[in-house]
Symmetry: C2
Amino acid sequence: MAGPKRAQESLQEIGYRLTPQRMMILAAIQESGHVSADEIYEKVREEYAFMDIATVYRTLALLKKLHLVTETDLGGAATRYELSAEPHHHLVCRDCGATTPLDNDLFEPLRLTLKERFGFAAELEHLPVFGVCSLCASQAKRSERRRSGARAGTAS
Amino acid sequence: MAGPKRAQESLQEIGYRLTPQRMMILAAIQESGHVSADEIYEKVREEYAFMDIATVYRTLALLKKLHLVTETDLGGAATRYELSAEPHHHLVCRDCGATTPLDNDLFEPLRLTLKERFGFAAELEHLPVFGVCSLCASQAKRSERRRSGARAGTAS
DNA sequence: CTTGGTGCAAAACTTTTGCACGGAG
DNA sequence: CTCCGTGCAAAAGTTTTGCACCAAG
């Protein structure tokens, strides 16, 4: 895990200011793992009521440009962000919404194949893999009820 | 490739009406491959000026539910749709935006690994793999100028 | 002084929803 | 007649942008 410390240093090294807002945003991302812009916004507002959603987006755009955070679009709802770290991926359960981190090694064979066969330089930094986790697969059999509370699991 | 013919038959078999609008939408998807809802809308409007964007979305939702089209979120911009076919994937070049179809076999080893190691039933129906195609990789060296309209990039 | 970063407000964009009408079954 | 599907309009949600101000360099 690359702590926000490193991200903060990187920011300053390249000549960007390390403002309180940016520190709070980085901290919020670190604490929560995968977060949407709005979740960051709400979280930071708990301690700093004047935080603006536009600042969140602008900061995220900056961090993204500097490769300090990665952006993952989980389809449909809002884009989620995470501190950059070693390339890794996530299993995303479409039922309970839980995300399981996934080592990058699993994707190396695929990446090599794409490079050899197509000359395609795949950027497999942070891929969401949708599906149904083992827990939900077994629960689905006994309880047909769910569909409701599958929003912000994010136990990364 | 499953032509729209089959999709149309499927619609009727299950008891849905095969309206002109739905036919035009299916035709538009087939002609263009990956298309956004808005592109479908514009395309159909060339021959039928009263087409409504809501109808496009409602039709897409229906076709999606019936697994007649697949939905692919390329991050950031609008979701894209495609006629269902054999499970397959796409290489998406973040520079030129070109998409190259990719056989599902390449992903089978990964799917099996996820199943064995995590008990996770991955739904690898239609995965976009971002990166840089061989063409753009070589062109990037001589011409540094990028095209500006492509929102396809920056997906981590 | 000059510039970067913020807060506020409004816009832009994609997608969804309410409502009434018309045609198909 | 009873619904399904449509067109129109408005709403909802996410992300971007214009503008003025403040503070840092």
